[in-house]
Symmetry: D2
Subunit: 362 residues, 4 copies
């Protein structure tokens, strides 16, 4: 049982606060002989890095990752995992603590400030401390290793499909476009609309929610388990563990409530490759907690950050009523940077279940 570890056989334990000297994680259980370099991890980190457009926080972090253990050159001189724990570390470089002085004593509504205080009686208030989304950098880093464990046959991609009430048009879905716009939008036609909309949100010092969709293709059938290690259960856990997430859906998701049995059942044929071929994917690639071989489809809703310029009523650590305005550097739509984080969590869940499946079923 661990409060800061995710996964069972392929595990990530993260540590660090937003404004401490560094953040880091330990990846444990990784199979040996997997080629991995800091550069490969950095590629994923750079996708999540703040300050890349005016729609994400202006905090400037190099987010340069170091590998401190667990890799070694193999006979050919290539850096590979050794099966021992992989320690990753990122130094915090742009802490500007004074920005946050005002929230030292008062609780930002909608933030973890008040609950950390009520639970622990102490909190590192600088930049949210442990509750900062900065921790998600380590998820992305560990997720980059998980991708290598899964191999090139498993392709995990995420996209932002909704900002506020503005949803992408799925008929225009183009994965190629996702990394070419500041929103991870799979719908190029939506980019101007979101740009316009988020500019107004940003200028008002406001924020807005979003929906992220993550899809994993090439996942072999058989991952997961019937009951309390269901693949969808662990995905729900994974996505809900991301800061600000309030809902998780697999396949048809909440809309499954409106379907009939006829509509919902994904009929099965034999494909040209001799494998089962499903005529639809309401299941989101998972039946009875176990992968079907179809794409795994997962969505999650990210609430708007409560760090906004509009004054809000709150209380302070002394129990006095007060008002608060959060002036720091914040994301008008934290959902944007949640896209690579969602991908990473998908990769972590699948790598863990790949090992779990191999353990029991060979």
């Amino acid at each position: 049982m661990s409060h800061n570890t995710f996964g069972h056989l392929f595990r990530m334990t993260t540590w660090g606060e937003s404004h401490g000297p560094a953040i880091g994680c330990v990846v444990d259980g990784c199979p040996p002989g997997i080629p991995i370099t800091a550069e490969e991890i950095q590629v994923q980190l750079n996708r999540r890095k703040p300050g890349q457009s005016r729609f994400t926080t202006q905090r400037r972090e190099a987010d340069a990752v170091e590998i401190l253990s667990g890799v070694f050159p193999d006979a050919s001189g290539e850096q590979v995992t050794t099966g021992t724990p992989i320690s990753l570390l990122i130094h915090n470089t742009d802490q500007r603590s004074k920005d946050y002085g005002e929230i030292k004593d008062a609780f930002r509504p909608g933030h973890a400030d008040i609950t950390y205080w009520s639970k622990y009686g102490i909190r590192d208030f600088r930049g949210g401390g442990r509750s900062s989304a900065r921790e998600t950098a380590m998820r992305v880093a560990a997720g980059a290793i998980a991708r290598k464990v899964l191999g090139a046959g498993v392709v995990i991609r995420g996209a932002l499909i909704q900002i506020g009430e503005h949803k992408v048009d799925r008929s225009r879905w183009d994965w190629e476009t996702v990394d070419t716009n500041p929103f991870f939008s799979p719908d190029p036609g939506m980019v101007p609309e979101w740009t316009h909309y988020l500019d107004s949100v940003r200028k008002n010092g406001s924020s807005v929610g979003a929906v992220v969709e993550v899809v994993a293709e090439g996942v072999p059938a058989g991952l997961g388990a019937p009951l309390y290690a269901k693949l969808d259960q662990d995905l729900a856990s994974a996505m809900m563990s991301i800061n600000a997430v309030k809902g998780v859906e697999i396949g048809a998701g909440m809309a499954a409530a409106e379907l009939t049995g006829e509509a919902n059942a994904d009929e099965i044929r034999i494909g040209n490759d001799g494998k089962p071929r499903f005529l639809s994917n309401h299941a989101g690639g998972i039946l009875g907690g176990i992968s079907t071989g179809q794409p795994i489809v997962c969505r999650f809703a990210v609430k708007p950050t409560s760090s906004i310029l509009t004054p809000r009523q709150t209380i302070d650590t002394q129990g006095h009523e007060t008002e608060i305005v959060t002036k720091g550097r914040h994301d008008p739509c934290v959902g944007i940077r949640a896209v690579p984080v969602g991908e990473a969590m998908m990769a972590l869940v699948l790598a863990d279940h790949l090992l779990r499946h191999r353990a029991q079923c060979g």
Copy 2:
């Protein structure tokens, strides 16, 4: 790591197949000295029991629970927990296996049949075996013990809020009405409409999805943890582990995507009791993974069962294409009986986190 265990400090391990001799569970980690009787557990089991109306499966099960260990009379003669594992067992009495002979070789679309087969190469096909919702009886039984651990101050109630496209009117919400209709509807005005609608679904041999809402009141602030033991994360895991669930929401849920920061932030005042009082509850009682003291609000969508009378295209264990009709006794809306199951999962998560919080924070 365990495939059939839920929880960490307050743990439930379930076992058994739908048509084996019995199903059961072991509840471990229960504090000593908690009064509990089989009768108290039975009260909750009876709420989930099949065959109580024409809208649930006509399978006839007494679902009579036996306590085989872990309780002993205290000095006053009252049966209390001893701190050792509590073994609960229910004999299966109405197995009628022949009903299921037809699904021995073919996979029901939308069911776990095909994924169990692909994972394990063998499955107990009788009544779905381990994938049967019959397993949820043990969740309800263990949940009854969890309620006792939480104490009378924590009130956990569930309700069905949507069947197909038919949603309750929240302005008519009345908890008192929930146990007085066959749907666990909190809206008495919706009962005739659902009755009419489900009768038609049932007569067509079809099925339909639903949404369940579970609310826990009286939960103390401070339960949960910042990252990978978030209370909302564990609730998402708990609810998604229930058969047929495809989506989970906390508080505002998926709709949080459409909110602005101003709307979403639950402002805070000091209540008459000197404790924080929130002016709204978009957070669903959880901030940063930790309970705020407000009601915990969780919803989940249940897909329609794929056991329907309409023939569906499928394949068999030999890889041949075929058709299947599921003639067994099934629930037209499995979401109904998911209400007490959702309550039980809420109780299990909260009891576990109560112990976890006590461990770290005294």
Copy 3:
């Protein structure tokens, strides 16, 4: 984290008290397709069964095991595991609770009576309740399944090598003789001596300690892990978890303290099979926490039971000083029946590590 579960991927959760209606266990994580029958499990249970000679407790228990879940006929009709939890149950039939009435209020020195009381404030005093060695029946049962998982190539055998100060002569070691005498002695020459000695112990209403040695041959190299999942660590945990065990040794054990580096290092050659061949086995088959391919050798000391006829000073639950004599039916040397239990624990550790190794290293 679990108080009543042993193992990680191949896991056993036991439940039940000595004088409750039944004892049982749930074996989880078992690979599918392993042939197993109640009869095979019973063979091992019978080796541990009480009342088989005058040197073990005269309690009469059939110890007839039932399999309640997790097995199903495969295509050929053979009962095999399905990958779902295997529930095993043994009804208690000879409870004679009145024998134990005298220990209801007073604590037997050297027993768990006082610590259960201090921890939980309540205990099932009948026959020791949960602290009874009766629980070890479930270890033996689960161990029988673990043996099947390991396969016929792994041979696990135990023997009693010391009773009181009387040690076997290792030069006369003969595995064939172990199951042909009431002591599991590997030294036929020691049988008369032990018979004579234990008869006197028994007649005096006394008891005596013993040492058990368990050897596993055919264990592949590579099981275990470098640090906190060391194979020797998990064996130490396993053996120390057996009732009354006070010391555990791997290979040279405590005597390693007296060795020099030259004497202790097991030199390595290449065997005729092309595999490493060690010229000695001070390591007991484990280096750096990982199996070498040599026999795994583990020993443990079992203290004498404190259930003796000599009056001992003690206190009662009210805090008064008193005396106690334990008149129940007890083993003069509980170490004897610990032999099959030690074998079972070895099997459980190895099966767990086999799956763990497969998970990480394929």
Copy 4:
């Protein structure tokens, strides 16, 4: 399930290789509000530090620990734990890798070289990589935090009681003397003898084993659990997880085999403080897996290091037979520096069980 984590509620995850850039650990689950500074941790680290006498390795390491997360000034300005993970890091400064080049391809008999290779197919051979006793620095560091969690009322002390065949005279036991000689000897009279003996071992390029005893006083009654979370079981696991340990004893240990029930049963009276007072402590402070309130007494045997100057027969990674001499800087008696490590493991086990007990029993 984790290969590099020790503990359940109070947990330590270690990482790093002997000759990588750094070693470190993450301490998770620590209660909030515990005052802790790097200086306090350093005090314990310095007791284990190499190069402090001619009887330990001459490797020169400052072993300066940094706290990277999890502490924050409280209202009074004192550094206290926040309840979030505590990341500790020590830079490796004296790696001198060329010393170890000769063992790149050949396996040192008695070392983990061959088993790492057989398990993972790759190993960081520099200084033993992950198998180096250097890892134990992090145990000592984490143990220093565990001591703070236990509080000043729990006193944990270790001593070396045997080197080779030379045992201390227990009648001369004096805890005060332990930290005043290079052997952690509790018997000042033994110091000259050990000095003389180890000088000869060292000059011969040989090594020798030892026995360490660790005693914890002030441990409250009630820690531990009846079966698979027994306090003695977890101590056995903890001590056997230390490099080179081959045997673990609790209380009477292996000698319990020679005792009668009369001799072994620790009789109980009521002490002047109204608490149970035991007339002896063969149990080593643990009955039925649960602490009695008496001193917890644990011993473990450390084998001699196989890094010796005498040539030994071995094989290389290519499967060829060869000879090896280990010329590096090594401890003639690795048991010496195991004393603070054993203390640390005792502290980690007790802190974990303190939280576990509080979770279940309040």
